[in-house]
Every structure is written in structure tokens, then in C-alpha cells.
């Protein structure tokens, strides 16, 4: 039987433990394109969605948004929902309008080359919590 080779992560965090955004960016091989000076911010839970309508129904804030939707309404939705960190998966790029709005709102934006499934798996394994 052939086993899939699993990458061993250096960072192991207990469940429910908060994690610095800097570590998250590292785990996801991510490029921080906004908020480079804010990376010591902590995150405890993640919501992954391409549908902003779903993000707007969340009652909790203090979460990290993972999405493959790269447009200015992603940033607006985060602004309204008090979300301050966004990871753009599937190699989606942040455009200048998004960058400007995110900077105004002290957000951290990270571009990540991984699929949503892979990025979610890595963060879940590292101990970050789902919203539900």
C-alpha cells in the first residue's frame, strides 16, 4: 500500500490556542501584501467561504477569513464584519483598490498559492478552530 507523504509542520499548537498571523502566513507559504507591521496579531478561528453573503451572517468577529473571491467587496464585507485578516487562496491576487481599502481599515491581506481545501487542512491541523 502506498502512503501519501505528509508534510510535518514545525509549529504544533494545542486546540483552542491562539496563533499569530505571522505563523499562519508561514504555514501557508503566504505572501503578506498588506499589514506587514501587524503580524503579531492573534487569531483563534477561521471561516472559509467564497460567498460573502455567508460571511455576513456570522455573529462572531475576531476571525480570519479565507476566500478565493478577490474583489473590493471582499474587503468591504470584512470591514462590515469586523474581520481584520484575510487569506486569498488559489493564488488570487489583491488589486490596488482592495489594497487601499484594506490599508484604511488596518487589515492584513495574505496571498496564498494553495487551494482552499489544502489551506484549511493545514490551519485545522495546526489547531485553529472553525466557527461552526
Amino acid at each position: 500500500m502506498k502512503f501519501r507523504q505528509l508534510k510535518i509542520f514545525k509549529v504544533t499548537v494545542n486546540k483552542s490556542e491562539r496563533m499569530k498571523v505571522e505563523q499562519i502566513a508561514e504555514l501557508l507559504d503566504g505572501k503578506v501584501v498588506c499589514g506587514q507591521d501587524l503580524l503579531d496579531r492573534n487569531v483563534n478561528s477561521v471561516f472559509a467561504s467564497d460567498l460573502m453573503s455567508d460571511v455576513l451572517t456570522l455573529k462572531s468577529d475576531d476571525l480570519l477569513l479565507m476566500t478565493g473571491l478577490g474583489n473590493v467587496q471582499t474587503i468591504r464585507t470584512a470591514e462590515m464584519s469586523d474581520i481584520s485578516t484575510i487569506i486569498f487562496v488559489r493564488n488570487k491576487k489583491v488589486n490596488p483598490d482592495m489594497l487601499e481599502l484594506a490599508a484604511e481599515n488596518d487589515m492584513i491581506l495574505i496571498e496564498c498559492p494553495y487551494s482552499m481545501f489544502k489551506a484549511s487542512g493545514i490551519l485545522y491541523q495546526a489547531g485553529l478552530e472553525p466557527i461552526y
Binding site: 453573503s53 474583489n71 467587496q73 462590515m80 469586523d82
Partner: protein
């Protein structure tokens, strides 16, 4: 206090500008963060609806120590069946709206779940008025 914002139908790059400005006002006034979130999420959903469906609209907000009253009136196609429009999953949104991450038929139900009061009146071929109310004290 009274606030007014003009909304351009179809201009998706500006959708949310009014909600953003009003959020800053609420923050400056030190309104409870949970109420700020409920208010701006409902306002943003309603603002996106004007951009997505109407030709133009105006948002009028009255704010005092008791309540936040928001009136969104648009000139647009109107809603033929409001009960149907309130159902989760029902949507008439264009592909352009869906590309923005909306149009899943969740906006009006989400406004209702956040607001203390919601009233929608509409005339087909003329436009729609949405009134949303929040109370500052329980």
C-alpha cells in the same frame, strides 16, 4: 442626527461606501460594538441591494439616544412579491452580482435577523422603500 447618502445603481466598486461612512460615525459615538455590527451588516446588505437592482437610491438615517432609523428608498424595478423575496435562497441577482459574492438569496433574511424592525414597501416599475430600525436600549 440626520445623515443622507446617495447610491448609484450598478456601481459595484462604490457599493458599501455609505455603510462604511456610517460605521465610522457609530464608532465615534461609542455605540456598543455588537449593535454597530448588526446595524452596518443590515445597512450594507440593503445598500448592495440598491446597487444590484435599482437605478439609484437614497439612504436617510436618523440617529438619537433611543434608536437608529434607516430609510432606503430607490427608483428601480420594484419587488413583485415581497414574501417570496424574503425567502432564503430566492434571488433575481445578475451574474455580475454573484461574481461579487452576493446574490444567494440571503440578503433580506439577514437584514431581518439583525434588525429590531424591518418594513419593505414596493411598487413594481417605480421602486422600493426599505425601513430598518434598531433600538439602542433593550
Amino acid at each position: 442626527m440626520h445623515f443622507e447618502y446617495l447610491i448609484e445603481g450598478g456601481n459595484f466598486s462604490k457599493a458599501g461606501t455609505a455603510s462604511s461612512l456610517f460605521k465610522k460615525v457609530l464608532k465615534q459615538l461609542n455605540v456598543d460594538p455588537i449593535l454597530i455590527k448588526r446595524t452596518v451588516v443590515a445597512l450594507y446588505e440593503a445598500e448592495v441591494n440598491i446597487v444590484a437592482h435599482a437605478y439609484n437610491g437614497v439612504i436617510k438615517i436618523d440617529l438619537d439616544t433611543e434608536r437608529i432609523y434607516i430609510n432606503l428608498t430607490d427608483e428601480g424595478p420594484g419587488i413583485p412579491d415581497i414574501e417570496l423575496a424574503m425567502q432564503k435562497g430566492y434571488s433575481t441577482a445578475s451574474p455580475e452580482v454573484r461574481e461579487m459574492g452576493f446574490g444567494a438569496g440571503m440578503g433580506l433574511p439577514n437584514i431581518q435577523s439583525n434588525a429590531d424592525n424591518l418594513r419593505i414597501r414596493s411598487e413594481v416599475g417605480k421602486g422600493t422603500t426599505v425601513e430598518i430600525e434598531f433600538f439602542l436600549k433593550n
